[in-house]
Amino acid sequence: MFQAKRIKHFLIVCFFLLLCACGLISCATQHEIRIIQMNDFHGFAVPYKPYGSDEAQGGLAYLAARVEELRAEKPTLFLAAGDMIQGNNWANLFQGKSSIEAMNAMGFDAMVVGNHEFDFGQAILRERIREANFPVLGANVVGLSELKPYIVKNLDGISIAVIGVVTDDTPVTTHPKNVIGLEFLSVEDTVRKYTKDLKGKSNIVVVLSHLGLSGDTDLAKKIDGIDVIIGGHSHAKVAKPALVSKSVVTQAFEHGKALGILDLTVKNGKIVGTSGCLETIKPTGKENTTVGGIVAKYQQKVDAVMNETVGEALADLDGVHVRLQETNLGNLITDAMRKTAGSDVAIINGGTIRTSIKQGPVKVSDVYAVVPFDNYIVAIKLSGQQIRDTLEHGVSAVEDEEGRFPQVSGLIFTYDRNSPKAARIKEVFVGGQPLVTDKEYTVATNDFLAAGGDGYKAFGDSVKSSKDYAVIGGAMKGEKLVYSDSGRWLRDVVIDHVKTQKTLSPKVEGRIKELK
């Protein structure tokens, strides 16, 4: 009996000694681990030819196949550094559900929210997080309980903490209604707090960030204890990870056109060696059939959505003469913009409108053909003089039928093409009242014109003279900027307008009159 007890005691001691030895061996042994990264995917699941390139790039099924191969080689963490669910039609038409389904199939270990993850609103974001089979991080976001500040993963006996942070500019880069009730804390303070908390609790600290490369570099310089920063937001193609202070900083371009690979050698619980590269993804070679199936399934749904009827045009909607005169289609689109932005006036360049819509049922694809570009609505305060200057610019090349010719809502103007340039605009009325030169009006336009596209300068001049703005009480306040929603394309605003109207019978009303 006594001997049996001694044997039992001996076995228990042996067991604990074995556990300790395993732990010591695990720490003392050299470990080769890997982090694979994707960022700023923006729903580009289908290979595409980027602007200025004749070659198709990307392709989520091809990227997934490469991830599988890389994972088979060594213990791996697969991380997403934000902006995964919004951007391309493949994601937008399903409010990001397609992206999450594909990411689940690809076995991501974690993702940080990017600013564009908020673009569909908090209820949708919550739904996407619930659908995700992986944790979604956001340590500096207060008010969205579904987000975790960090995770700790064990790879081959090495514990790795991953802290997620998103740009604290998010409230001014998405529509204010999307972030009502949320607080975005200082990234620096947040990372400092969690690196301190996690000290001694993990071997490696990774910051999964959506700050942009400059922000990541600053973070690495200011905070000790970060081993690796896996970043996104600036769409930077970091060919080789950089060592900033004691942190390895990297980012993997955009749209699934590249995969970031970072190999770490860990000894005694510390990183003793790193090597990394970017692998370009092209639609050739091996394809992951599961992910390929998800991509194809949603692409078919995209095609089906394109065929959906959203309203009926009771007359032909003229997208042909938009560079020469007022048209009913120009009126419809600018009316939708003015209503959405809640502005006094809307002005766009005729070149925004690419084609007409025939009388009869209006499909989603018809609207997408009319306004195909990834443009969004911006509204800026302009003085009466700036509005006049804008219109002068708009009619300055009417004889050449250039794309700058304006389509307008909320105002009426007359012009004479025979007058000298910059003196062609005659009468201007806003809301039925004569334009007052030194009065400020809110003017909705698209981001292209707001950035100075087609030679429109007034919007940029106004922004230049504007003081910085801030979000106050859930609404964006600023001296000159009154509306900006980069998460919602103009074509989708027009579709919603058509759906609301059901039947379309916009008329040429004499908003733009040429004196002859």
């Binding site: 200025g52 980012q251 371009f253 707001a450 100075g452 001049d461 900027l481």
Partner: protein, 60 residues
């Protein structure tokens, strides 16, 4: 937000991207001709890349 494209200052609404900076600087057509955009560290950046106050980017 002021940013610099090939050392030329342009003013943008906060939240605008590399694409908007190039439109503002009149250089967007250069991309169609095959030129690319780089940050100060020499990394290529995509047209959708976020910008911050005072950042310098280069088209070449």
């Amino acid at each position: 937000m002021k940013v610099y494209v090939n050392d030329r200052e342009v003013s943008l609404v906060t939240g605008m991207t590399v694409k908007h900076a190039l439109i503002s600087a009149g250089l967007i057509d250069e991309i169609e001709k095959g030129k690319k955009v780089y940050d100060e560290m020499g990394n290529e950046i995509g047209l959708g890349g976020a910008l911050i106050e005072g950042v310098k980017i280069f088209v070449k």
